[in-house]
Each structure stands twice: as C-alpha cells, then as structure tokens.
C-alpha cells in the first residue's frame, strides 16, 4: 500500500498495461519525451522506448485515426487528447468512426482502444480548455465512457479499459491530478460498468462523477454534521456501461436522488439517470429528482467566476437540505 497522486496513478496504470501486453502502444502530443503537459505520462518513454511511446504532431484527427487503424489490425492503442475540449476537432472518430465500424460491418471490424483525455474545470483555462464533455460521449452508441475520481480507480479502470474490446473514452479530471489516495501494491484491475457507494446513508442518494465526487462527499459530511441529514454518495465512475442496479437499489432505500454534474445542464449525464429512476423507481420516491449542474453557460476564466459557476460543496449541501426540508 502506498499513497499515490491521481497523476502518478495514470503513469502506473499505463505502465502496468504496457508491461503486461506488448500490443499496448501509446501516442499523443508531448506525451513521450516531455512526459505530458500534465506530467501524467512521465517516464513511460524512458521505460518502454520510442516504438511504443510516441510523440505526435498537433494533429488530433491523425492521433485518433491512427489509433483506430492500429486497433483494427491488432494493437491496443492508448491515445491521448490533451484537453477533452479538443474532441471537437476530432469528433468524427469519436462519433462516426470508432463506435459505428463494428455495427456497420456486421461485426467484422474491431476497435479496442482507449482515448485518455484531460477533462473538466478548475484550472482557470477558460471556456475552451475546461469543459466537461462526458455527455458528448455518453450519447453515442458503441462507445464506453469512464471517469474515475481516485488514484486507485484510475489504475483499475484504466486497466479494464485497455483490456476492453470496445473503444473507451477515459476522462481524467485535470483538477484531480494532484490529489492523493491509498493504492495497493501489485496489479490492479477493476470492472467497467460498476458504480461505487463511497458513503452509505439513509436519507438521500447523491450521484456524482470525477471532481464532483469529493465535493459530494464533503457536502454529505456537512449535511450530517450541521443538519443530521445522512446521505448516500455514489461515485458513478462509468457512464457507459451504466450500473443502474446500484443506483436503483440506493434510491429504493433512501427514496431521494440528486445528481451532481460538472457538465452544463442540458442533456447532462444526470438527465439520463434521473429519467431511468423516474421510469423504474417512481414509486420509491418521496420527492422530486434534483440535478445540481453547471448552468447552461460557457466556462469563465477568472478564478472567482469559475469557482462560482461549478457546483460547490455549499451549493450541493444547500440544495439537498432545502429539497429535503421543503
């Protein structure tokens, strides 16, 4: 057992899989010699050499296209797109190519690859380097979408993503890179499509993802300490496949559900989950389903503005308390 940063967990996760399987190769901008702009790939080039860890030009379409061609023909590539906002310049691969090739070819074409990307706000980078784009990916049949919140989950879910036969979008949260957590020694392998109950509770279920997970946990502690409200906090972790059973079981127990989403409000991931709860657990509910999201607005740059626009611990706690006490 060792304490590891989320950033170092990325390095360890990639290294674990490259060590295990020679077909795992890694490409992206500044990922090799420079070790990544977020320093989340330091040492991999030195360890695995220039044939397996490759710097690319600033060519996001070439990066994802090459990853796909390699995956179709026998490799298991990990491709990095530096900022998830840049998905918009290579979205053809994410929306049209990776996810549809197997279906269109009646099962002939395989596409076992992972796209890692720095997602989310908190770095004061403004509207085009801070977005949470998990909902862009979640809506596309054929993709899997994962967003870990802790170092141990980074390793285990990254390993599961690399070993998965389908294309996986792996969203690393930029504001979590410096956070730390306990990580066991040895190989770590988790399972896609599994949510985790991080704090059991009886009064309300709070669903959260990535950076919103520590905030939801802190809000739950505040609600317990200040108002005696006992919240169950679920880290959704994997949007596709989605662990609806864990979520529905929790709602059956607490009779209340909240989502805490960093993506802007319209068509955010919580909307889909809330609609599932409304369809399948309506009679378990004692009150409205409530989504706590970033508003339908681009992200500002100034620290005071950015902090104000994202769901905060206080905002989460407030909204849960007011809803339960209404």
């Amino acid at each position: 057992m060792a304490e590891l940063t989320y950033r170092d967990a990325v390095i360890r996760g990639i290294a674990q899989e490259m060590q295990r399987d020679e077909d795992v190769v890694f490409l992206g901008e500044d990922v090799a010699k420079a070790g990544g702009v977020f320093k989340a790939t330091v040492g991999l080039y030195e360890k695995f050499g220039p044939l397996r860890v490759r710097d690319t030009p600033i060519s996001e379409q070439a990066i994802l296209g090459a990853a796909m061609g390699a995956a179709m023909t026998g490799l298991k590539p990990i491709a990095e797109i530096m900022f998830s906002d840049f998905f918009a310049v290579c979205f053809d691969y994410i929306a049209n190519e990776f996810p549809k090739s197997r279906y269109m070819t009646n099962g002939q074409t395989k596409c076992p690859l992972v796209v890692r990307t720095g997602n989310g706000a908190g770095s004061r980078f403004g509207a085009q380097h801070s977005q949470s784009v998990e909902n862009w990916c979640m809506m596309i049949p054929g993709l899997k979408v994962v967003a870990p919140s802790s170092p141990v989950d980074v390793i285990g879910l990254l390993a599961a993503s690399v070993r998965d036969p389908d294309p996986v979008i792996f969203l690393e949260h930029k504001s979590l890179y410096a956070t730390k957590g306990e990580v066991p020694d040895g190989e770590i392998l988790d399972k896609l499509g599994t949510a985790k109950i991080l704090r059991p509770g009886k009064d309300a279920t709070i669903l959260a993802l990535a950076l919103m997970v520590p905030r939801a946990l802190a809000a739950a502690e505040k609600l317990a300490a200040e108002h005696g409200i006992d919240c169950e906090v679920i880290d959704v972790r994997s949007l596709v496949p989605l662990d609806t059973q864990t979520i529905l079981s929790s709602v059956a127990k607490t009779h209340r559900a909240f989502s805490v989403e960093e993506n802007p409000r319209l068509c955010g991931w919580g909307a889909e989950i809330m609609s599932i709860i409304a369809d399948e657990a309506f009679y378990d509910l004692d009150g409205p389903l409530v989504r706590i999201t970033t508003p339908h607005c681009p992200l500002p740059s100034a620290d005071i503005l950015e902090d104000a626009i994202l769901p905060s611990v206080d905002r989460i706690a407030d909204r849960v308390r007011k809803t339960l006490q209404a």
Binding site: Q61, A62, P112
Partner: protein, 339 residues
C-alpha cells in the same frame, strides 16, 4: 486481320500475360457490376445512395492487381470498385446495395461502407478524409510488428482540401509509414470542378512536396501505368522508405451519386474521356500483346454471366431478419449499455 501467335514469351514484359488478363478481368467486373448497380437502382431494387466508379476502373484494378494477399485497402463511399477488385464476390456487393441478407454486411452498412476484412478490404469510409489517418494506423501496426503488408488508401480529389488529408500525409511522412495514398482525380469534387476550389493545378501532386514526397501524377485510365506506379510505391513502403502519394488522372462517367445527373459538365467532355475509356485502352493493349479477340470476348461473356447470376441470387435472397437490428454494437455482440 492476321493474329499474332499467343505465346507466353511474346508477352513476357514486366507485367506479363497472366497479370494483364487479370487486370482486364477486374476492370470488366467493375464495369459490369457498377452498370448493374445503376440498372438495379432504376428498377428501385437498390435503395439509398450509391457512388459509381464507371470510367475509373483502371485505378482500382491496377492498385489491387499489384497487391499481395494481406495488403490492406481503405476505400471511400465510392468503394464498390476497390472492394470488387480485391476479389469480394459480386453477389455480396450487390446484395449489400440491395439491402438483402446475402449482402456483405447483411444490409447493416450499405453502399458507402463496403467492408470485407477477409479480403483485406478494411472499410469504406463515408466521411471525407477520415480513412487517411486510419490507414496510417494500420501501417503503424505493420511497422511496429515488423509485418510487411502495405496499407493502401483511396480517395477522391475533393479529399485533398480537408484537414485530415494534411494531418495524415504529415503523420505518415514523419513516421515513415508503409502506406500508399491514392488520389483518384476525376476532376469533380461532388458537383464542383476541383480546379475551381483548389489553389494548385494538381490537387494531390502539388501538395506532395509539402510533406517531403515526390510528385507523382499518372494516367489513371491506363491499368498498366497504374499497376507499375503501385508496384513502385508498394516496394518503397515494404522496404521501410515510407509513404507515397499518387494522383491518378481519370474521369467519372456518372454523376457524383445517383441523385446527380452531372449537368454541370461542359459539352463534349464526357465524350472526349470516353475515347480514353480504360477498358477500351486495355483491350487495345491486350491485342498489342497478341491476345485474341476470342479470349477477350470469353472474359467479357464470363463476367456478364457472373453478374447476371449474382443479380438473380440477390433478387432471390431474403431481406435481413429484424433480429440483427441491434447486434454488434459492442464486442459482446449486443447493444447493452446498462445492467
């Protein structure tokens, strides 16, 4: 008319009789199958859209004819020709166009996505430019695993103006990938003359130097010229010397797609190109090398019969069962996204 005696030695130039007959047959297969696809469309038996390669047969035949087993083809939505040229059965292609269960992908892909991995046809891509980077990736795998196959990527003149073309060319050149980029310059990007929207006269050839590549522009209506250019490029790729970009000058007899009557063409242009019809040119070539009219007629008749038989099989084939509607979305064979 006196006929020269047919001997293999008389035909033993760099291409040879067997290969020439193969190249001829491939062109006729493409011509007849494409014409049949058009006829079936007029009978409302081919639905959706289709993009024919009538007039461009020599490009597909020459490049496929020079490939080895294991080489990979990446095609566009105008991909029937390249698919047939790799030996995919005509029935499977027509069946897919007709939305029948005997189609190459049982009707799940359609005309624009013909794929047969067992024949090395790694997909037909309907988003302009998308498959150039994908071909780079397949070539990267060959380079990484020290395998000697070449990835060959076909596209039209219009593709040279999209970003993915330039990203892929640079990427392939920097990584020295065993990939061959083949531009079929048929003079029109969809409905607009390519010259009206491109800064240089040779849309692919004049871009080559930007990526440290040789400018190669060939007669795309002469299957021998295509075959030789392909061989040179494949040899270069296999010997680790990196990519090639080849522009083939050719002409599309039909419109861009079935919806396009191609009324934008200047008068006489189509007729001029038809005088340089690839099949006409190649028939003359065969005769120069002593192949008899009878031999040629026999190939023509055999291919026509193959296309007729394929057509009948497709007409008799059932439509796909609804059970396949949601299969193969994910690798587990289904489309489940939740528990």
């Amino acid at each position: 008319m006196s006929k020269k005696p047919v001997t293999s030695t008389a035909l033993n130039d760099d291409i040879g009789e067997d290969k020439r007959l193969e190249l001829y047959r491939l062109q006729v297969v493409i011509r007849e199958a494409e014409q049949r696809a058009y006829d079936l469309f007029l009978q409302n038996l081919v639905k959706g859209t289709s993009h024919l390669s009538l007039g461009q047969e020599a490009v597909a035949a020459g490049f496929a004819g020079a490939m080895k087993k294991g080489d990979l083809s990446f095609c566009t939505y105008r991909g029937h020709a390249h698919t047939l040229a790799r030996g995919v059965p005509i029935e499977k292609v027509l069946g897919e166009l007709m939305g029948r269960d005997n189609g190459l992908m049982r009707g799940k892909g359609g005309s624009m996505h013909l794929t047969s991995e067992e024949h090395g046809v790694m997909g037909s891509y309907a988003i302009i430019g998308a498959h150039l980077p994908i071909a780079c990736g397949a070539a990267w795998r060959a380079q990484y695993k020290k395998q000697d196959d070449v990835s060959v990527c076909f596209f039209g003149d219009g593709t040279t103006n999209i970003g993915a073309f330039h990203e892929a060319l640079n990427f392939a050149a920097v990584w020295k990938l065993p990939v061959v980029f083949v531009c079929e310059n048929n003079l029109y990007m969809e409905y607009t003359p390519i010259g009206d929207v491109t800064a240089v006269p040779s849309p692919a050839g004049d871009r080559a130097s930007a990526y440290g590549l040789e400018k190669i522009v060939i007669d795309g209506n002469d299957a021998d010229a295509v075959y030789r250019a392909a061989q040179t490029a494949y040899d270069k790729a296999r010997s680790g010397k990196g990519p090639s970009l080849i522009e083939c000058l050719t002409y599309r007899y039909s419109g861009h797609s079935r919806a396009d009557p191609a009324k934008y063409r200047p008068e006489g242009e189509l007729e001029r190109w038809k005088q340089r019809d690839p099949i006409k040119i190649y028939k003359e070539r065969l005769k120069q090398f002593g192949i008899s009219d009878d031999q040629i007629a026999k190939i023509d008749a055999e291919v026509k019969q193959e296309v007729d038989e394929a057509t009948e099989k497709c007409k008799a084939s059932p439509t796909p069962p609804l059970e396949i509607l949601t299969t193969d979305v994910y690798a587990d064979g289904g489309f489940a996204w939740r528990n």
